[in-house]
């Protein structure tokens, strides 16, 4: 399926084709983003107010972290529908664990927080491991496996809490981590930047990252080249689970309670939308997380702009849907035109 892309880059005129592929991979997304920002700034000064900007950046950060994991799974040729449920599970597990440890070791905040973070991230890794093992070992489609684990994970999160928010986390976790600001920006943004930097490094400079591209691009070729498919596929799902869990923990720290209603279908669909609009091909093998981050920013700003423009919240999904389809369709048409050249 990616024969088109590879035959394209194999043509002479490397500089020209590099320029074209750069344009192709970034696309018109930044232009669209800048247009929305300029337009909104002209229409409503509230848009560039510091509170709104921090709000946008925080939401972008949360979406970016989930979308990075999602993008990696999709590049490997899979799908992770369970990320939204993992956000909820990690939030609940973190809060519950912190509450339990705090009850046995009152005052020992370092232990409480470490334990809570480990449990939360561990729960995400566990779900990712199940996803990965089912996909890699049993060769079942990622869509169905994660559809199953999505339901199961959401069920477990609700079982733990009975649907009631979980309190009892140490004050220092909420005050000094969740709601603190460095240089005027909330922690979530720094966490997202670190995640993004690590992911860029992983994708570009590590064998794991390169192999994921190879597996998603042409699984058979990757097998023949001696790439251990299973390990790497499991790795993508585990990483996606851990990153979703990280988002759940950040949300928990910000809100101050663990809730099974965090994440959900909305977060899952948004993460896939961010990845796809950011140029990650659902056929696998193509995509870069830094563009996914731009696309997450775009989606967040779009939602924010629709709110500020007082567009009926019921109509907003229509805009999102149309823009999403249009973005991908334009991208696809552009690719076809390039192939004809």
């Amino acid at each position: 399926m990616n024969a088109h892309a590879s035959s394209l880059t194999a043509r002479p005129g490397i500089a020209a084709s590099y320029g074209r592929s750069l344009l192709g991979s970034i696309g018109f997304l930044p232009a669209l983003l800048i247009a929305v920002v300029i337009g909104m700034s002209a229409v409503d000064p509230q848009f560039y107010g510091p509170i709104n900007i921090i709000n946008i950046l925080r939401n972008t950060a949360l979406l970016t972290i989930v979308a990075c994991g999602q993008a990696l799974v999709i590049i490997g040729g899979g799908f992770d529908l369970s990320v939204g449920a993992v956000v909820a599970l990690a939030s609940v597990v973190t809060a519950k664990t912190m509450g339990l440890i705090a009850a046995s070791f009152p005052g020992n905040d370092a232990l409480v927080i470490t334990g809570g973070l480990a449990a939360g991230l561990g729960s995400g890794a566990a779900v990712g491991l199940i996803n990965g093992l089912c996909v890699a070992r049993l060769k079942v489609s990622g869509f169905v496996v994660t559809l199953g684990t999505m339901s199961a994970t959401a069920g477990v999160a609700l079982m733990i809490t009975s649907g009631i928010p979980v309190y009892g986390m140490p004050q220092s976790f909420v005050r000094d981590f969740g709601r603190v600001q460095f240089f005027g920006l909330p922690t979530a943004i720094y966490v997202a930047l670190i995640v993004l930097a690590v992911m860029v490094f992983v994708q570009r400079r590590t064998l794991f990252g390169r192999y994921v591209y190879a597996i998603g691009g042409n699984t058979d070729a990757a097998i023949v080249s001696g790439v251990g498919i299973r390990r790497h596929l499991v790795g993508t799902y585990v990483l996606s689970g851990v990153l979703a869990a990280l988002t759940g923990i950040l949300l928990t720290a910000q809100v101050g309670s663990g809730q099974a209603s965090f994440g959900g279908d909305r977060m899952m669909l948004q993460s896939i939308a961010a990845a796809v609009i950011g140029g990650v091909s659902l056929r696998g093998g193509v995509g870069r997380v830094e563009i996914v981050a731009i696309s997450a920013l775009f989606l967040t700003i779009l939602g924010n702009a629709l709110n500020l423009l007082h567009i009926d919240s019921r109509l907003q999904p229509v805009f999102l849907g149309v823009i999403m389809v249009a973005a991908v369709a334009l991208d696809e048409l552009g690719r076809r035109r390039k192939q004809r050249v």
Binding site: F79, L81, C134, L138, K139, V140, S141, F143, V144, V145, L147, G148, T149, M150, S151, A152, T153, A154, G155, V156, L158, M159, S162, D265, L269, I272, A273, V276, L282, R283, D312, R314, L315, Q316, P317, V318, F319, L320, G321, V322, M324, V325, V328, A329, E332, L333, R336
Partner: protein, 338 residues
């Protein structure tokens, strides 16, 4: 489909016959599991096997079966329809609004009924045309295309209804699609059986139906063979959304009002039911049978768990595990067959 394998004259050597028998055993595994499941629940609570509850299960399953059939036709072509749930909501609200307008206009009951049906099916078909054109002609993947229409349909459904249930569904409509019965069989079951038989004939006996299997098995071969793949795909998404619209109208008749979130998580439920029944997301494998068996299985499971008072959250976990087990079994079945 395995009944074709069995019928093929090639299955004459002992080993081939054994493979065919094994395939038959796998095919029968789920229906047998269904019966075991029913008996198991009946052992815990005898209310499970009462005629009243059995009819109840059938009636509940008939909606899910319709939606699973809708998903199956597009899954056969390697697609799926994430927008099915929102389409259901939109059709429900649209049909109810059309009928409310008809009633307010003082139209005849028959005319009002027709207006409702026409509005519902038109909205459904419109969704299908959108999905099909975006997927077939613009080359957008089914996931993104139907995720787009998912958002659009939710927006339309909540906007035209202002987010509130639309009252005023006439009695005739409710009677025709829900309250009525044929020889004591509730309308929902009758409709689903008729549609199921018709769809089965279309999928197995018509050129169009066979073409869907070819597209799903090998899209390139389908193109090379001269099939109008794009037009067929559009037709298939229209078929899917129209079936969803029928289910939506039936559910609207049941609730007696147009509900802007009637569809809820139906998209994924219907995909899960189809897949549990043995429809392959890789395309080309499945049919009305797999959709119906899957829908029955999921419905009996949740009905039984309800009657035996298993916690709703535990039910989610069980259903998730069943979905995974279903595809794993399907995978093993494929590998056995070589």
């Amino acid at each position: 489909m395995s009944d074709l394998d069995l019928a093929s004259p090639a299955a004459t050597t002992p080993s081939e016959r054994r493979v065919a028998l094994l395939a038959l055993a796998w095919q029968a595994a789920l229906p047998i599991a269904l019966v075991v499941l029913l008996l198991g629940f009946a052992a815990v609570d005898s209310a499970v096997l009462t005629p009243g509850n059995l009819v109840n299960i059938m009636q509940q399953a008939s909606y899910l079966a319709l939606f699973a059939m809708a998903q199956t036709v597009v899954i056969l072509t390697r697609g799926f329809d994430l927008a099915l749930g929102p389409t259901v909501s939109m059709v429900s609200v649209g049909a109810a609004l059309a009928m409310a307008v008809g009633v307010a206009d003082g139209q005849e009951p028959g005319t009002v009924l027709l207006m409702g049906l026409a509005a519902g099916f038109a909205l459904g078909a419109a969704c299908g045309v959108f999905n099909g054109v975006v997927i077939a002609y613009l080359g957008v993947s089914p996931f993104v295309a139907t995720l787009g229409s998912y958002n659009i349909a939710i927006g339309v459904a909540t906007t035209i209804s202002s987010g509130r249930p639309v009252q005023g569904v006439p009695d005739l409509f409710s009677w025709l699609l829900y309250g009525g019965n044929l020889f004591g069989v509730p309308a929902a079951i009758v409709i689903t059986v008729i549609v199921g038989v018709a769809l089965h004939l279309v999928l197995t006996r018509t050129v169009y139906g066979r073409a869907l299997y070819i597209i799903g098995t090998n899209p390139r071969a389908a193109t090379v063979a001269g099939l109008p793949v794009k037009r067929l795909l559009v037709a298939t998404y229209v078929l899917c959304s129209t079936l969803a619209a029928l289910g939506a109208l039936m559910m609207t008749a049941r609730t007696g009002s147009g509900e802007p979130n009637l569809g809820g998580s139906l998209s994924l439920q219907a995909i899960a039911a189809a897949v549990v029944g043995g429809t392959s997301l890789a395309g080309g494998r499945g049919g009305v049978g797999t959709a119906v068996v899957g829908a029955l299985f999921v419905t009996i499971l949740s009905n039984g768990m309800n009657l035996t008072r298993i916690d709703g959250y535990v039910q989610m976990v069980v259903l998730g595990a069943i979905v995974i087990a279903g595809v794993v079994l399907d995978r093993l079945r494929l590998e056995r067959r070589g």
